[in-house]
């Protein structure tokens, strides 16, 4: 199977270890901060950026990310607004964004925007992939995959310690980019550290020799957890810890660099 020409696939073709993917909520802490934070993360050397599309009812997320969603919505954030903010980011004369961009969010706002219109805009502004946790995998395959494919947009799927081997194989076969390994049965920001149970799960997945690279998310918040995740996958995803950092330390390039240094030493 040939892989879609896409910045995410290009990245994993070049680099397979200690990749760092950082999540932040669009329009947080201030509406106009999206591009600032995006550029700050690129300059700090992160490998992928995951931009959250805020939603009123983010059930897979914990308190920290939900609160940031609420703030962003109060700031007037929307998918339309986000596309406006991202428009031209790839061709910016001074600071072009080259890092792969993923949009993370929930299915309802995307349905209201229109799935095809959404995919088209993603392609236009240079978004490479999406994570929509409440879009069922089989429904995606049946109804939407052809549309995503038409616009070269990857859809990244989650697996958890409870996901069966059979289902993991199916997800691995149908999706590309990477597989998002949820470290434990949990919502975002609710666990910290890597337990023995998690290690056993990481080893089980490792031994499956999946075709897709894997990034581990949920509970990654310092060098220790980042290193442990990187030892068991191609890298890790950090979300809630970065949202807290933005809230406490601000969005300056220095602040963001400090955060990234504190995760991947």
């Amino acid at each position: 199977m040939t892989l879609t020409q896409n910045r995410i696939n290009d990245l994993f073709a070049q680099k397979s270890e200690r990749l760092l993917n950082v999540y932040f909520t669009a329009g947080f802490p201030q509406l106009a901060d999206t591009r600032t934070v995006l550029l700050g993360l690129q300059q700090a050397g992160v490998d992928l950026v995951e931009i959250g599309m805020p939603y009123s009812d983010p059930v897979a997320d914990g308190e920290t990310i939900q609160q940031s969603n609420g703030v962003a919505l109060d700031n007037g954030m929307s998918i339309r607004q986000l596309f406006n903010q991202l428009d031209g980011c790839r061709t910016d004369a001074e600071n072009p964004i080259t890092v792969p961009i993923l949009l993370m969010g929930y299915i309802n706002p995307v349905l209201q925007f229109g799935v095809e219109a959404f995919c088209q805009k993603c392609q236009e502004v240079g978004v490479d992939g999406v994570i929509l946790p409440d879009l069922p995998f089989d429904l995606y395959v049946d109804e939407y995959k052809a549309i995503f494919d038409r616009y070269g947009l990857l859809n990244i799927f989650l697996i958890t310690p409870q996901t069966s081997d059979e289902r993991i194989r199916f997800i691995d076969e149908v999706s590309e980019g990477f597989i998002y390994m949820v470290s434990s049965a949990s919502i975002t920001g609710s666990v910290s550290g890597i337990s023995d149970v998690m290690k056993a799960y990481f080893e089980r997945i490792q031994s499956m020799n999946l075709r897709n690279p894997r990034l581990i998310g949920f509970g990654i918040n310092n060098t220790e957890t980042f290193d442990a995740a990187s030892a068991n996958a191609n890298g890790a995803i950090v979300g809630s810890a970065f949202i807290r950092h933005l809230q406490e330390q601000g969005t300056s390039a220095d602040s963001i660099q400090r955060f990234v240094n504190g995760i991947r030493a």
Binding site: D57, P58, Q66, I107, Q112, D134, Q162
Partner: protein, 399 residues
Amino acid sequence: MQTTFEPQTSFEVSNKGFYGHFGGAFIPEMLYPNVEELRQNYLAIIAEPSFQAEFQNLLTDYVGRPTPLFLAKRLSEQVGATIYLKREDLCHTGAHKINNTIGQILVAQRLGKKRIVAETGAGQHGVATATVCALMGLECIIYMGAIDIERQKPNVDRMRMLGAEVRPARSGSQTLKDATNEAMRHWINNPVDTHYIIGSVVGPHPYPDMVARFQAVISLESRKQLLEKEGRENPDYVVACVGGGSNAAGAFYHYLNEPTVRLIAAEAAGHGVESGHSAATTALGKPGVLHGSRTILMQTEDGQVTEPYSISAGLDYPGIGPLHAHLFDSGRGEFYSITDDDALKAGFNLSKLEGIIPALETAHALAALNYMSLTKSDIVVVCLSGRGDKDLSTYTKHL
């Protein structure tokens, strides 16, 4: 909304969990194993003779079923039709909610679950859940919006007295929608030993179907009772209020494929459909996804879920069950928007005419009678879903 699902001829849920365009299981992967375990087992469990025996026995001896089908003579005279009231208000704990919690706790036990989590708005479902947990000796955690905890204190006290832990949902608007989010999060964090008892015909498949099956006892009884009283099983109308829609699903269930029976759903219009303070989902909503199913949903243009309003906490929900979305979409169900004022009047009216104080939710169904252009020969079954004790403080403000 685009869809490629096959149109259905009946109102039963499809294999993939859809009623027409509505339903499904829009859940994060973290919930997939829990929901899948339930989906694979619920029909077989419900069909087990030992389950049926225990369920029927508890409905009879613990809940107090069958509930009467009462001919409301003075109301009939006033409305100008024959009105029967299906007395779910006489169930143990004061509403139909316990039909479902009895069924689900028996399922949870057979799945080997040790702990129950549930959401509640006004507290009726929370009380019904805490009740069955006490009965079965299972740990019980109830999420309730922090604002609802303050305004529904008697029910909070009842839940605590029954041994449940009531946890405030402090996210978002701190009401039913957020309590549901928190209960789902709790389930995500405790996937193996916990069962989530959803209180209405909402949520991911198989919940809407499972809850409808447990509530179906309402129409199973009413058909039989009407046959005894009127010599016919089918009334001309069945009327019920719809928030999420569990009492309506139960009251409609055995009439869904009886086209001569008109199914009337009363939604809460709050201060008025266009007032900005309403919960009239079919009047104001569009297709969308909430709490795991595709349904009709009150939302902004950007797809953010809108905060509903109704004087009745049980109808204060921005969506409806996918079965009801399908009844609306297909024209099988007729939906009326009933304001706070209409509901209050209907509640006072029934109290004085028949000596029955209805729940404010139920009062919406009663108010719909005034808009239905009934004729003398019509036979109407109204689902009297709950009693009004819990609403006394609201009623007395309007005496």
